[in-house]
């Protein structure tokens, strides 16, 4: 994922929104992705107050209720899980945890990675070296294994999960930021600011950071999908969030023993994970094309692609 360098030079001004919308309409897949994500966002915010209580309601006499029946009410349309709780309600509540964890983790890793990257890029003192070596350590080792070790040690709580996910993703932001800063600091405007007597802190914060931010945001969008998958994997291995809390990944893990006779328990959460990460990837792929002046015409042109 390190290859995604900044294609978006600056956030589009308000007038461009219309062009964006037109381009989005042209790409049906991206449009579906956007609609799905929007619907998901609405369900995540509005759902829990409405049907959140049902997600914890036991129904031991309707365990593994089969899907596609309105007999027990619409919340049971996708079936019930191993304790007879409606899957729809659990998906909605699970969305809150899943997306919440991913969002906070991405935000944390972007902030810390960005700040450390700014320091490592701008300063040439010893701590710059230390930061880089630390990032090397994290990078040189499979993130899932590192996460496993830390979670086994600290215990699998939501806070620890966020910290671990943030730490393992952080080096990507750090390296990207550092690479950009190394290039930016040689530019004319930085020298100008320097000669005008601006302090390092001010230069970094006022002049360099705003230019790095768009790149980081692009990475963050993609990373969001990666973090959702990473969290699911940890939950699958039993080290994610622990009951009674749950995420989509935990729901898949919970139902994996039932795939042969009650496939819906882990099928739906798995499908939702897939659709969410796919939508995120589709949208950011679209955004990259949109932001690339050389490619954007493909989204605007009505003509068939030339041979």
């Amino acid at each position: 994922m390190t290859v995604i360098t900044s294609d978006i030079a600056a956030p589009p001004p308000a007038g461009k929104l219309l062009i964006m919308w037109r381009c989005l309409k042209r790409d049906k897949l991206a449009l579906f992705a956007a609609i799905f994500l929007l619907a998901l966002a609405i369900a995540t915010i509005a759902g829990p107050p409405l049907i959140g209580d049902l997600a914890a309601k036991l129904g031991l006499r309707q365990r593994n209720l089969a899907p596609f029946s309105f007999q027990h009410g619409w919340v049971y349309f996708l079936g019930a899980d191993t304790l007879g709780r409606p899957i729809i309600a659990r998906l909605v509540v699970g969305a809150q945890n899943t997306l919440g964890i991913a969002f906070v983790a991405v935000l944390c890793s972007m902030l810390t990675g960005g700040i450390l990257g700014l320091i490592a890029g701008y300063s040439e003192r010893w701590y710059s070296q230390v930061i880089q070596r630390l990032a090397d350590i994290v990078m040189s080792f499979p993130s899932l294994l590192l996460a496993l070790i830390v979670l086994y040690t600290l215990g699998p709580s939501i806070t620890n999960l966020v910290i671990v996910l943030a730490c393992t993703r952080m080096p990507i932001y750090l390296r990207t930021t550092r690479a950009e800063v190394l290039e930016l600091r040689e530019r004319m405007f930085v020298s100008a600011a320097k000669s005008m007597g601006a302090g390092s802190f001010r230069i970094v914060l006022r002049h360099i950071a705003p230019l790095v931010l768009p790149t980081l945001l692009t990475i963050a969008a993609l990373d969001f999908a990666t973090v959702i998958l990473a969290e699911s994997s940890l939950s699958f291995l039993g080290l994610g969030i622990q009951p009674p809390d749950f995420t989509w990944g935990a729901m898949v893990a919970n139902g994996r023993g039932y795939l042969a006779n009650a496939w819906w328990i882990s099928f739906w959460p798995g499908l939702v994970i897939l659709l969410t990460t796919l939508s995120l990837n589709l949208l950011s792929s679209w955004a990259r094309t949109f932001a690339d002046p050389q490619q954007r015409w493909r989204l605007q042109s009505l003509r068939k692609t030339p041979r």
């Binding site: 350590i137 993130s143 899932l144 070790i149 990944g249 898949v252």
Partner: protein, 304 residues
């Protein structure tokens, strides 16, 4: 070149030692693991004797100094659970993962090059759209979920493939497919992107003007030039492949290093955890050096 490798090596040694220290203290933070190795109803006396025997009763920093001293003598410790050398166990499992990862990566890389290149020649076309969707789905799919569903469909329902384990070539299909899915999905994106850039570069237009055949242009000129970023990503993904291997190995019962490590972590078999980390980190370091060398071969401008 040699001095470059030397510098990389010294950085890596620092990284690996840092990693080992980090993991050493992290795992020891969980306290004395004796009760995990003994039956649940064993007496407190028995547990204390066991802790003493294996040095778990010592302060952590003493344990670490002991570990470092042994490390210098190339003694990587004994597995408490398996009663044998931890490094021996790690080195037994490592080739299994290497084989799996190599085949999966080679497959993903080749398919991605072909599919990505073809997709880039006609951007927006049907093939391009299909490849995009398939690859993005591959990159987005939770691998554990695909693995279990795969077993149920192909092994149980249709009885085409064995469920799990190792053996003939039929045992390889599902693990490799699951493991290759994600790298394939990501690589196709990269190949397509760089190829799009390369194909609109001036020299391609020149080649086209010279009347070269399209196949020759795509696979001869453009591909060669867009290979560098693809290799960088592939390198990163290969290291990350161990992540997938943990999942794939534990679902398919593949006796590789990923499964070994997760088992060792769960069972608090510290010496094995340390040894697997040492082996994995060293392998990733060698891989990175190889990628740098490959870079130098492919791009004559790069000199170390």
């Amino acid at each position: 070149m040699l001095s470059y490798i030397g510098k990389r090596a010294s950085h890596s040694v620092i990284s690996v030692i840092g990693l080992l220290a980090l993991v050493f203290f992290l795992t020891r933070l969980t306290g004395d693991p004796s009760s995990l190795f003994l039956p649940l109803d064993s007496t407190l006396e028995a547990r204390q004797a066991f802790a003493k025997l294996h040095g778990f009763d010592q302060p952590i920093h003493w344990q670490f100094l002991d570990y470092l001293r042994d490390l210098i003598n190339l003694d990587f410790g004994q597995s408490v659970r398996q009663n044998r050398s931890a490094m021996e166990i790690a080195l037994e499992a490592f080739p299994q993962t290497l084989k799996l990862a190599f085949v999966a990566m080679a497959l993903a890389f080749t398919l991605a090059l072909v599919a990505g290149s073809i997709a880039a020649t006609r951007p927006g076309g049907l093939f391009d759209r299909t490849v995009s969707l398939v690859s993005l789905t591959g990159a987005s799919a939770p691998d554990f979920w695909i693995a279990i569903v795969g077993i149920l469909v192909f092994a149980v329902s249709f009885d085409l493939l064995p469920t799990s384990g190792t053996g003939g070539i039929s045992y390889w299909i599902m693990p490799i497919f699951v493991l290759a899915l994600r790298p394939f999905g990501l690589l196709v994106q990269v190949v397509r992107g760089t190829m799009l850039g390369a194909l609109s570069a001036p020299y391609i237009k020149t080649a086209r003007a010279k009347g070269l055949h399209r196949k020759e242009i795509v696979f001869g000129h453009a591909l060669r030039n867009s290979l560098l970023p693809v290799i960088t990503v592939a390198g990163d993904l290969t290291a990350g492949l161990v992540n997938g291997a943990v999942i794939v190995e534990s679902v398919f019962g593949w006796p590789g290093i990923g499964k070994l490590m997760i088992d060792a972590i769960i069972q608090r078999d510290f010496a094995v955890v340390q040894s697997t980390i040492l082996v994995t980190a060293t392998a990733i370091f060698i891989l990175n050096i190889c990628i740098d060398l490959l870079y130098a071969v492919l791009d004559p401008r790069i000199r170390y």
